[in-house]
Amino acid sequence: MHLIAAAPVVLVATAFAIPLIYLKIKSVKVFHAVALSVTLTVFFMTLLGYVYVSQVGEPVVYRMGGWPPPLGIVYEADSFSTLLATYTAFIIVFVTLYSSWYLGSDTGTPYYYSLLLGLEAGLLGIYYTGDIFNLFVMLEVLGITCYGLVAYYRNSKEAVEASIKYAFFGALAGLSYFLAAVITYASFGNLTMGLVAAESRPTFRLLTPFVDLFTWGNVIAAVAVILALSLWTFTFKAGIFPNHFWLPDAHPAAPTPISAILSGLVVNAGAYTSARLLYTVFGVYDPLSSFYSLSPYLGTVLSALGAFSAIFASVMMLVQNDVKRLIAYSTVMHLGLIFTGLSLGTPAGVKAATYHILTHAAGKALLFMSVGVAIEVSKTRRIPDLKAVGRLSPVVGIAIAAACFSLVGLPPLGGFFSKFALYQAYIEVGRFELVAVLLASSGIAMLGYLKVIYPTLFGSQTSDIETHRLGGPSMLLPLIALIALLVILNPLVISLAIDSASRSLVYADRYIIKALEAFVNYITSGG
């Protein structure tokens, strides 16, 4: 599976090549074309990877440089990670197209694309990697590019302040995960996710070469510390209360296409890594794992934090005057719901959370991009001053409405089905308080979204609109594509994909066996 491993490499190589090309070629249009073609290529690479993993029907291990698991870094792609990676690459293609409309002939464009491609490389690396330390590297790649993009308008006080806040605590969170990785190495003797997972399950432990490492120290306490440190990092990345404080500053300060990526895709990396660590690596929710005893504590903490994030953020949405801050708080709310789904520990909960990650990403990217058009023509982010773009451009109007309705959860759109799946997952385990949280936060958030819909669709301010900014395929095509995506995200269409993805996460046996196989094959073939 060279294609999977090549995707981040292609992105990083292009990201470094772009500033060099800029030395010779000064035309900004060239860079729009380069970025679009590279993201499109990477999308097809991830799609082929997804198709391949689906056909094989089990995780695929790619050994970097041919080194086997405990010695070298491996990429281990299963249907969960390839689904998210393909979806991410798909949305980034459209955001890149939208960027070419948004940036126009801005002279910072080459650096913007350089960072954007680095960001995509970090995301894909996070999804594909099968190595705990490589995950740290990829988190930092993602982090540094995000800080840079938030500070893209480097002469704006708001952007620089938001970026230093984000970067400072991001660096601290990165160090926290580094400590967790070091403790993992000290307790398990290796850093490959599949092999750490094998050691966590007594049924697989005899097959690993590291059995005697369990003889000293209390490994359950060590895992509790590892999980505490790494979940702190991941909830920071995902913007879960109390680590959400940077998000409503950083997401609005970035250029609008970047807000769409940060709110729609980057936060998912936090949810993905939490799920991977909890379900696959340590098997906290797996009754056969040595760490099953930690599940009540983690379940309580994560669902409480998720539920509080959802309620708190939906209330905060109501008091915002800045449209981008309002949408940023909506991100905190949805990530809260995703974390409550992940904290249940049941296949239905994971399935619903995965589904909600997909619908939220599409809805949020669409909302930021369509509201971005309104901000662009109104030249302000104050909600009452937004012009009624929906009256002049039906596509933008439909996009704002569709995104809001999907995020609230109205029936024909994807958001309804994912919220319904969450509701069913809560009912299945009898967590009625979470049902109340889901309904209350959606209801309160509905009022927040109406604040956005009203001036942009039904407002009376249509004067002084620069109508030439309201057209153009590079703005309309992404909006139309994501509206279509919200309709396609229907259980009839994607139920099978989400089902196999969540099964691959919850039942980690094949993941472990493939990693062990890669190790044993190396030993038996005599190196």
Binding site: E158, V160, S163, I164, A167, G174, L179, V182, Y185, P248
Partner: protein
Amino acid sequence: MDTNFLERFLVIFALYNLLATIGVSIYGIVARPHITKKIIALTILGDALNVLAIFLGFKPSSIPPVLLKTDTISEGDIIKFATSAVDPLPQALVLTAIVIGLAVNLFLIFLALQIFRLYGTLDSRKIRELRG
């Protein structure tokens, strides 16, 4: 006082020293208002964690992880090597972490410079455009 005791004392002393450094640097990050001091504290925290990682691979009276004997290697040689050599992997991890830390620090320092240009101060109590 034999050398063994001295070595063990030094190892424990270094460990507590590291933990104290981590505590002081977290205090610096949280409590100092000046952004440059916060960045310095963050650097100290990063370095302390790196040394902690090296420390985990260290064994008292150990040898470098290089097997110098190349012609005839017996099983005993390998066992002796495996039990007395330090673990090289944390050192490789730390090398990566140092490079990443360099990038993050450079970026933070650039942002601090930009903040000083825009606000005329680096006192984080006076930089309050955003409410969080």
